[in-house]
Symmetry: C2
Subunit: 305 residues, 2 copies
């Protein structure tokens, strides 16, 4: 099945307690698409960059089966730039610079061939742009739509956000965001309230502490895999979403049992992502490496009663 990936493409400057990287390629859509490309070669990318974005990076995506018809390359304009510095805990971070650049004019128009994508991953963007993308989809095809967002939009545009959320199948947020969105401290209670907003599936990311899946009255937890080295958490959440949605598009099965596997595959992809700066580790994976990593997740939590 085809997967449409929507979100930012960016340059990032990143400092962590374990190193730094200057102006490397990043952005939600980039991480999502790279991660998903290990599961499906029918990826319809929707994003915007300036003419400073390296051709070579686009060629690499194209070679992995990513359709770039939906990418706008704006002449005489610069790509979105983000700079941030992580604290020692590798979770909290300070944003040092946010230059929206081309993102200010992002007005995604879907190519006709994209409109019947069976799976859609809406990366974190303004709710208005996420809505604009949804409005262009072929409703008759009933795509499976997942949406990522953040507390920033809850503070600034809650009404628009709630409208978009009401139209998606899966919401992917972190625990603080789930608490803010629902007004509930208990994640179980938060999940019940969020289901009522629309999404049948609620996926709560907890970084190194793993991820929850809530569906109807059931829940599943995917652990965080301890790693010898974590260099850069940037893009881990997007990589998780990309792996998850790529696996769903590949298997075309949204049962609870398969959704569990999708979350494990997403977690495995994210665990590779954080081992190196930027996309570098994510670019050199293969089937065996991914299967072996998934097996580690399996062994980590396996016990008999």
């Amino acid at each position: 099945m085809s997967l449409m990936t929507v979100g930012t493409m960016a340059f990032d400057s990143i400092e962590t307690p374990f190193g730094k990287a200057e102006k490397i390629v990043g952005g939600a859509c980039t991480y999502i698409s790279w991660a998903a490309s290990y599961f499906t070669d029918k990826i319809n990318l929707v994003s915007i960059v300036g003419d400073d974005f390296p051709d070579d990076e686009l060629n690499q995506l194209s070679n992995r089966g990513v359709d770039l018809t939906g990418l706008e390359i704006k002449e005489n304009a610069r790509t979105f730039f983000w700079a941030g510095k992580y604290h020692y805990n590798m979770i909290s971070r300070d944003t040092l610079t946010t230059d929206l650049n081309v993102l200010d004019d992002f007005n995604p128009i879907l190519p006709d061939t994209y409109k019947s994508s069976e799976f859609v991953m809406l990366g974190n963007l303004t709710p208005a742009i996420q809505q604009q993308v949804l409005d262009q989809l072929d409703d008759a095809k009933k795509p499976f739509v997942a949406l990522d967002t953040m507390n920033f939009w809850m503070d600034l545009a809650m009404d628009e956000l709630l409208k978009v959320i009401s139209q998606v199948d899966a919401l992917i947020i972190n625990d603080e965001e789930a608490r803010q969105l629902s007004g509930e401290f208990s994640l179980i209670n938060a999940a019940q309230k969020i289901h009522k907003l629309g999404p049948k599936y609620l996926i709560i990311k907890r970084g190194e502490h793993g991820a929850f899946l809530f569906f109807e009255k059931q829940m599943f937890f995917a652990p965080g895999l301890p790693l010898e080295e974590v260099k850069d958490p940037t893009g881990a959440g997007d990589t998780f979403a990309g792996g998850l949605m790529g696996y769903l598009a590949y298997t075309n099965d949204i049962s609870f049992d398969n959704m569990k596997r999708a979350i494990i595959y997403g977690s495995a992809m994210a665990s590779f992502c954080v081992e190196e700066f930027g996309l570098s580790n994510l670019k050199k994976l293969d089937y065996e490496m991914i299967q072996s990593r998934v097996r580690q997740f399996y062994e980590l939590v396996k016990f008999e009663i």
Copy 2:
């Protein structure tokens, strides 16, 4: 097999974002012994209280098979008192009062019948007192010893602490303490260093985020079970340790596979503990409730690949 439990018995005054309780019975040894009492009725308790400690509480313990010969009841003296207030995240807390009272004179002398206990749980105390208990054990019996400690003793008495740690089989600490003790950020690397200090088993508690077990080159992760209501985290770590060691004493099996189960049972007991203030929930459990809770842990992380 018999289990010796060593640690504080206390009065606690607790305030959380969800309620408060004044001067209720607490203390590491109390939580450990209650939790363990669901698995074994051969518990040898070592602690100290003042004559203000309620007889009824001691009778309840006695009725659950806890031997109180090793409890010193000091005349004209007051029981250890702790008061604390939890932050909204229910993890960090401020200590408002610590009145050591009888704890200042704690000089544990083991009854002869205790010296051949097969399992020993050393709750968090000064390393000197933990050492004093170890010195009285019958070495020929080679008991299985687990030790809990905290960053406070790493700051204040690292040499004594390292000496005690070198003599125990299992160390039970939280992630920040594992990082401080080892000087390693990665828990995998921390585990390798801590194994070299002595303990074959390293158990890293992460509160609501679950617990890790490291043994040789293997690791296991027990998730935190999401709960509808968490009222009071006090004693959760001790309850975890008590359930774990109680299960080991009951099964008399320290294989990696059984240790995994022990950690799940410990996690299950801790999940009951936090649902009410103090010991109240822990006092009303039965076999069926515990088995059913363990089953929830099993279902939470179960997936097929």
